[in-house]
Amino acid sequence: MRLADISFNNLRRRKSKMVFVILGLAIGVATVVALFSITAAMRDDLQDKIDQFGANIVIVPQASELSLSYGTIVVSGVSYDVKELSQEDVPRIKTIAFSGNIATIAPKLLGAVQAKGAGESRALLVGVDFPAELRMKKWWEINGAAPSREGEVLLGSRAAGVLMSRPGDALIIDGRKFTVSGVLKETGLQEDSVLYVELSAAQALLGKPSRLSLIEVSALCKACPIEDIVEQISGVLPNAKVSALQQAWKARRQTVDQLTNFSLAVSAVVLAIGAMIVLTTMMSSVKERTREIGIFRAIGFRRMHIARIILLEALVLGVAGGVLGWLAGVVVSSLTAPYVAQTAVTVNWNPALAALAVGLSAMVGLGSSIYPAMQAANLDPAEALRFI
């Protein structure tokens, strides 16, 4: 016989109470696992949406200049000591440590041009890398097609109206002939007034070979903070000013933080209830077993032996509650998440989460049994056996 046999035998004898404790712990763990899974899924989902929404980092040439804009009114400012971005800067971005988190790099060259179709106007020309631009701007809807070669142009809806051009029409830009491949549906943004051409075509038209006006970067920020990516890009592009689009990022972080805090608070409350259930059950168990513990002490069990019997029971209950709670949590989260979070949660058989759930439950079980175990261990055998 071992001390463990005494613990297991006692657990078997007090089945209904032990089931009650296991259920108490399991509900606590299931809540933690479900909240954890749902908030993790919401965080990922939110992040994916933000990442898909567009650029979250903008790189512009560094210049000593004060911004002279207020609202939508821009006043020409004085720039001096302007550094320039070049096409060689693009591959450098991919050399940063977090390069795996860079989803898309969209370089651009901006310039004013004279455009002439059926109508004529000065317009803003933007040279872009179309595959990258289309990946980043998933909300673009094109009537026609995106340019696939250098002699094609994509028009913003308002630009197409002013120039009275439709897909297939010819358009003269600064004396060079282009074909309109498509027209963007109205977005309500600045891009409605823009003429988009291939980057190399824009560089040739504007007489700025290899030059770039700005680079937009879409970074996936699930695994790392965006500040780190910004810092790393600044490291490889010392002549550039790299900025995170703080608003979107902060809003995201705030939302995720709120979710996390909410989950932590609920988890703490539920686990505290679980701990109280264990504590009261173990206390009453120790009280019921006073004479039994007195016998153990009388026949030579040390205090440590008594504590080990009680704590082993608590550990078994904790582990059982943890396993059951984890299973329930995974099932509950996958069933309820679509309604609660309005997002699909993939059933997470993550062994780390399982280990965390079981470990947490075992800790709660053990932690809340320390006091009852100490009480049992310190029982005076003479008093327990009513010799006094």
């Binding site: 016989m1 071992r2 001390l3 046999d5 005494i6 035998n9 006692n10 078997r12 004898r13 004479r291 039994e292 016998i295 153990f296 002490r297 009388a298 026949i299 030579g300 069990f301 040390r302 205090r303 032996h305 005076d380 055998p381 003479a382 056996l385 010799f387 006094i388």
Partner: protein
Amino acid sequence: MALIDIRGVSKTYDSNGCVVQALKGIDLSIDEGELVAMMGPSGSGKSTLLSILGAMNPPTTGTVLVDGIDLYGLSVEKRADFRHEYIGFVFQQLQLIPYLTAVENVLLPLAISKRPHREQEAMAFWALGRVGLEDKARRLPNQLSGGEQERVAVARAIVNEPPLILADEPTGSLDTQTGEEVMRLFQSLNEDGLTIVLVTHNPENIRFVGRTIRIRDGRIAS
């Protein structure tokens, strides 16, 4: 040779605000191999003396030597070790663990020894055989008669082969015939060389013991 030597033992305790003097300067020697009964009316202090002798209840004054060891000079944990090695208890009111079978109850004192499982089982079955219950080893206490439960308690007390058995009212809850059987069992164990001290208030038991110590009002009367 005295196995037990008690000198000037008194015990005072607080009972609901009243100071009760349970024992008043007890001097007592019990030789190795004796079968001794302590008799006295309820509240005379005999059970208190037994618990002091059993290294469970420190006296207010006095010394208790067993096999030359000053019990209350030992730490609490050392006293637990002493109980494990030296004493087999038979408690009042059939103190078996209800969720353990007869053999598991007998195995209890061995649970904290480092003996291999097979050796433990052999010792437990030897002890059950000694009290004539080998065939009921796998029964739970509630499947045994009062006398059988008492004998399981005796088997548990002797399984570790301690030199001293202490029994508190071992026949108190048994009918006359079963009580006599249990007393004969104690006699037989005593013949094997065990020193046995038992507390009883049943005068019928006197004929089975070698010496009777009468306790009245916390003192040895005779």
